[in-house]
């Protein structure tokens, strides 16, 4: 149960990051268009946020790591994604008005809406590795399995969002749905008891 929930968190945060990234392009298009540099800005911000998230997650895993804390990381990422829903349009409108160059306008927009939730989501994988690895011999195997699960989640998030969700739902409905899912898996992690022989 403990390991299942751990992998579930990794799977979900991979899904969550790519889902938001794809929807990010949609959110910015009415304000900055869908030029190649708008996608460039979005991908840059996600990559940068993830890279720093890995660093932060590894660092945070050093002291008193627990599944409960990992659950809180996932909940926090969802919380920090809330402004996309609550203030996205206001912010994008203001930025598009103040920054005439659409390259830097979209970069600033992506930074302010997606950087923090993506950074926090990036913390999940290295933190989860710490919880999974008991002895050195299996460290690579566990880490490999975890990256498999999390990147598979990213692939699923990309495909489902771009092929189906946008055809069935409105952007905000998809975002609320993803936040609800984060709440669910985050709470599950907070409630599951660690195995006796951790």
């Amino acid at each position: 149960m403990y390991a299942t929930v751990l992998y579930l968190l990794a799977l979900w945060s991979g899904f969550f990051v790519m889902g938001i990234e794809l929807l990010g392009g949609r959110l910015l298009a009415p304000y900055f268009g869908s030029s190649i540099y708008v996608w460039g800005a979005i991908i840059t911000v996600f990559m940068l946020a993830l890279s720093l998230g890995y660093l932060a997650g590894g660092r945070y895993s050093v002291h008193a790591p627990s599944l409960r804390r990992l659950g809180i990381i996932v909940l926090l990422a969802a919380l920090c994604a809330l402004p996309i829903l609550l203030a996205g349009d206001t912010l994008l409108d203001a930025l598009a008005a103040r920054v005439p160059d659409p390259r830097f306008g979209s970069l600033l927009a992506a930074l302010s809406l997606f950087f923090v939730p993506t950074l926090i989501s990036g913390m999940v994988s290295p933190y989860a590795v710490r919880l999974l690895v008991a002895e050195r011999q299996h460290a690579g195997e566990r880490a490999g399995r975890l990256y498999f699960v999390s990147t598979f989640g990213s692939a699923a998030g990309t495909l489902l969002t771009s092929f189906y969700f946008v055809l069935w739902f409105e952007l905000n409905q998809i975002l609320w749905g993803m936040l609800a899912m984060s709440l669910l898996v985050g709470l599950a992690a907070c409630l599951v008891r660690p195995p006796v022989m951790a």
Partner: protein, 294 residues
Amino acid sequence: MSRGAPALLALLYAAAAPAAGTLIHSERSQYREVLVYEDAGTRCLCFTHECAIGRQSCVLLAQPDRLVFEYTRMMLGALFLTPDPHDILVIGLGGGTLPRALERLLPAAHIDVVEIDPAVVRVAAQYFDFKATAQLGVSTEDGRAYVRRLLRAGTPQYDLILLDAYERQYIPEHLLTREFLQQVRQLLKPGGIVAANTWSSSRLYANESVTYHAVFGDFYNLKSGNRIILASAGALPSLEQIRRNAGRFTTAFEPLGFTPDTLLPLFSMQQDWDPAARVLTDQYSPANLLNALP
């Protein structure tokens, strides 16, 4: 693969490919391949090899003023709704056929063109004799960003806006939403006209129709291979008025190679779509997915 296979494949490919003619220019832009083919005195701009998914623009080299494509002629049907436009916006340049025709037809008009791809602007200038002048300006920018910028800046308004940014293989989805059309409508002077060249023959047809209807109310629908939507920011002129206005262009259309009355039978206000279809919005805009579905 056996040694004969590549030759066989080449043969099959040659047989299957449409005769696009000789490739005289090719470049890879930020967005796509921009290709120019020439065949028997016709020069065409294509975004796919051998023009496999349609030609964007064609000119007859001996008669460059003639409008080769029916859709460009149908787009000029917008002039029957607003015969004397002073300020015109064209979103999507292609080979520049449409803005050039408008420039010749309306020497007093001011025309702004927005094209996202700088390579297309270059190729139109080099191979299709498209020249920016004091009367005809080109901005290299995303159409939606341009419209938003203009709305913010104040009131440079248009009598006529032509949307020619949709391709058969790709629709810029943010240019086919209720919010975008509302912005376009705001850029129009009272009674201004919007003309949109669209492809849709798929499930998108109904969604597109209800979206335009949500913003402009009833509109004229011209169908013949392509589909042209002609809508108004005010009252839609009657067919009688359209017929009268069309008569004014008999001589002017001559160098373009057609007569206005060939367009008149195409004007229809019949709502041949499911009115319950979902309106496309910035929140819901899967235009390309809908276009790909049967």
